[in-house]
């Protein structure tokens, strides 16, 4: 008997092709939208996380001001050379202490000019960033102490200014200074935020402060811990030291921050989770719209279906048989729509993530939720009007206008 009911239901679906199609379409749109959006959002989060983890786990970033989800960075005093010295001499367990400052400037060589990011740093920068040179050398101690300008350039700058010719030993102009190229950085590619990390020039911090920054400010200090040394211990030590040096009274908040990678990651992924949530919300609206579409079609067809139910009851169908048929119909349409929606959604997500170069991260829970929601709508609006009709007198159902 169940097989018969199944056949009756399938026949009813085929007989009402347009209605069935529109119902399925409603479900497909809702499910596909949610899955595509959330999967792309997840991909973004995963991308950011993996970029951040590449930076290493034994690092600390010291910056003026406070950062974090839900709080704007506050302007605060920059660090000084003496802060850096204090960290170098008073904190133990450090492999590298890399103060740096950053600005953008136009670099000129021959007829070419190229606007790029200029970082003032020490040799520890290359250690802390785990960034090798492919050619040339890093700064001599004389250069670091502020004698002459010297530049290490990234791959993008090399390509833009020098094309295929050898840059080592050539003089480039950056703002008011002329600077020989002493080394070339290995290619690093795009950062998690999509900027080109190879589009950069690194010069000794002292030269930068004097000739480009115009002050002795240090805008950030990266610390790299020795293997086996706990970053949380160093974090606490650095915080205490800087509170003392910056004369922050007990009970007042720090006007600087010391973050390790996991904290930084939390901030970044917090932002991308927000993005995922936003995409999810947009998708939820399409799910809702799809749901309303299904509801509409189902309700509009109630009159005709009520008459159909009246006929079936009149010629000997039990209430339960009629309901089973309608339930099977609703389940079949929902399944069809749900599965098509999942396939389409994943397809779109795959296309989207590969176009944006993001990892493809599916989330079973969102697939399930989208599917369950649409299926529920299909069932509720397919089933409940049918149930009302099936509980009528056959003659009432037949007369239904």
């Amino acid at each position: 008997m169940f097989l018969e009911t199944l056949k009756l239901a399938l026949r009813a679906i085929r007989r009402n092709m347009l209605r069935s199609f529109l119902t399925v379409l409603g479900i497909v749109i809702g499910v596909a939208a949610v899955i595509a959006m959330v999967t792309i959002g997840n991909g973004t989060t995963a991308q950011v996380k993996s970029e951040l983890s590449k930076l290493g786990t034994n690092m600390l970033f010291v910056r003026p001001g406070q950062f974090g989800p839900g709080r704007a960075s506050t302007t605060a005093r920059a660090f000084t050379d003496r802060d850096v010295e204090a960290i170098q001499t008073q904190i133990s367990g450090l492999r590298a202490v890399s103060p740096s400052n950053r600005s953008t400037a136009t670099a000129i060589y021959g007829g070419q000019n190229h606007s790029t990011s200029v970082t003032g740093a020490t040799n520890d920068f290359f250690i802390a960033q785990d960034w090798d040179l492919t050619e040339g050398r890093d700064f001599l101690s004389g250069e670091e102490r502020g004698g002459q300008a010297a530049c290490v350039i990234g791959q993008t700058v090399k390509k833009e200014l020098f094309g295929s010719s050898d840059p080592i030993g050539q003089q480039i102009r950056i703002g008011s200074i002329s600077c020989p190229v002493i080394g070339i950085l290995a290619a690093k590619g795009e950062s998690g935020m999509g900027s080109d990390q190879d589009d950069t020039i690194v010069m000794p911090l002292k030269v930068f402060q004097r000739r480009i920054g115009g002050s002795t400010d240090i805008s950030s200090i990266s610390l790299s811990a020795k293997d086996g040394v706990s970053t949380s211990k160093i974090q606490a030590d650095v915080e205490n030291l800087l509170r003392e040096r910056r004369k922050i009274q007990a009970g007042r908040e720090d006007d600087f921050s010391v973050n390790d990678m996991t904290q930084l990651a939390a901030t970044m992924t917090g932002t991308t989770t927000l993005l995922t949530g936003l995409l999810g919300a947009v998708a939820a609206v399409s799910l809702l719209v799809g749901g309303i579409g299904i509801m509409n079609i189902m309700l509009v067809s109630v009159t005709e279906r009520t008459r159909e139910i009246g006929i079936r009851l009149a010629i000997g169908a039990l209430e339960g048989q009629v309901l089973t048929q309608f339930l099977v119909e609703a389940v079949t349409l929902s399944l069809l729509g749900g599965v098509t929606g999942i396939v389409l959604g994943l397809g779109l997500a795959f296309l989207g993530t590969s176009l944006m170069g993001l990892p493809f991260v599916t989330s079973p829970s969102i697939i399930f939720i989208a599917f369950a929601f649409s299926a529920a709508i299909g069932m509720v609006f397919g089933y409940f009007p049918a149930r009302r009709a099936a509980q009528m007198n056959p003659i009432e159902a037949l007369r239904h206008e």
Partner: protein, 239 residues
Amino acid sequence: MANIPLIEFRKVSKIYGSGEAEIRALDGVDLTIQQHEFVAIMGPSGSGKSTAMNIIGCLDVPSAGEYLFQGVATSGFGRAQLTMLRRHMLGFVFQGFNLLPRTSAIENVELPLVYRGVDAGMRRKLARDALARVGLAGRENHTTQQLSGGQQQRVAIARAIVTQPAVLLADEPTGNLDTKTSIEIMELITGLNRDQGITVIMVTHENDIAEYAKRIMRFVDGKIESDRPNPEREATHVS
């Protein structure tokens, strides 16, 4: 057995609306119909013929009074029992056909067999036969919309007789048919009554159609005005 009537109305009333707007579609009707009878119900429009048929067919329930089927009061029946009665005992031809839309003739005719649990092969065969008997051989796969009014009516008749019901209830079965087809259908119904002993209750407006029946009732304003045997046909029936 013979003294337990197949169908019995005891003071059956059907009242629609209330107060000023109250309509007594049936007003305290008493009637008995024995097994194997062939009854024609006549009467002006709105006199309660269809209402009576619907109650006999267990599609509707009386507002007052009692309807007994084979001596059993149906007021005590649950929905499932009424369904079983419809499924196994009754065949109904509606005044408005009530075929499933966008559905082929043969599927419409098969439907009561589906609910009786007849297997697919047998169903096909019986439905084909029934359609042939109402003169629709070759139209099995036409959908309801592709058939004329008269053809739809014949599909409705085929659907009612395909189960070989104990009682055939036909509300104006020839209402939309030409004289020639009407005669064919009436010959068919008469044959079912005569050869298979199916009890037939039929509503009609036409005197010459009513003449096929062995007993003719006239409804006026929800009451039975007259109820007489049809001498021409009665004579041929051996009770």
